[in-house]
Amino acid sequence: MSKDPECRVLRNDSERLAARAIVKRAYEAQRYSAGSRIAQYLQGSHAVTFGLIRDEILYGTISVVVDSEQGLPMDTIYADELSPWRSLGEKLAEVVQFAVDHDVYAAAFGTKPTLFGAVPLFAAALSHALAKNIDYLCISINPKHDHFYNMLGFKQIGARKQYESVGAPAIAYALYVPEWDKHGSTKGFFGKEILKHMAV
């Protein structure tokens, strides 16, 4: 009998490689280059990669990189925007490499994931940020998703720029983690779902 999907930290290089393949396919499907610049940030002890797994099939992933001497992936184009916060001693982290492969899931289980199928990944990233006492969870998003992140309580911290290595536009956003649940939109079913998965 098929198990329910689980969201957990990926344990070894093989699993992390499979996660990178999911991200690569997702980027390429949108005609972007996945590049390799983020890989160096994901290999250290400051990063964690989560996977969405059902019956040992990995079909979704998200990673969180905690700020360190190495910096964050988004420093490539947003170092000036992050600098004042670092000067104030704020603890930063960045969410990167979020992707869900609906086709992998469909091939294995005959149907695509439910509409809320990727929520556990968001919950895992947020739980990790809370556990690490992160002040600001940063993310470099594609501008087409700005409405969604606004709805979740993220605030824009950097202007639209171009990620040359990816070939895509970006906008920097950040969520004030200690008060993530104070935003109105998180009172709705999406926020409740995140809370439900954070409790697991």
Partner: protein, 103 residues
């Protein structure tokens, strides 16, 4: 009796138009392509787009929808069928609100 049926049909058409408009605006898909049997996961470019669609419906309907009711919705037709179970004036005002979605 006939007038009642016609009013019901008119309500269903309005509901369909409103739902299709919200999906079209959010997923950037032309209304003509939103046949009832189209799956939302196929129409959305990625998972974020799906989340945004769900939250837009929630915002538009002012918290009147429940997770349990929509968690297993798959197609455009499923959304329309669900919306048809809601009071007529609710979806109408919701549609008007989505012209200027709150941030």
């Amino acid at each position: 009796m006939e007038a009642l049926i016609l009013r019901e049909e008119a309500h269903c058409m309005e509901t369909r138009d409103a739902v299709v408009e919200i999906i079209s605006q959010t997923l950037h898909v032309a209304p003509a392509e939103l046949a009832d049997d189209r799956k939302l996961v196929d129409l959305a470019e990625d998972s974020i787009a799906l989340f945004e669609l769900l939250i837009r419906f929630e915002q538009a309907l002012g918290g009147h929808i429940k997770y349990e009711d929509i968690a297993h919705i798959e197609t455009v037709g499923d959304v329309i069928a669900y919306a048809n179970t809601l009071p007529a004036d609710l979806l109408k005002s919701a549609f008007n609100r989505t012209q200027n979605p709150p941030l």
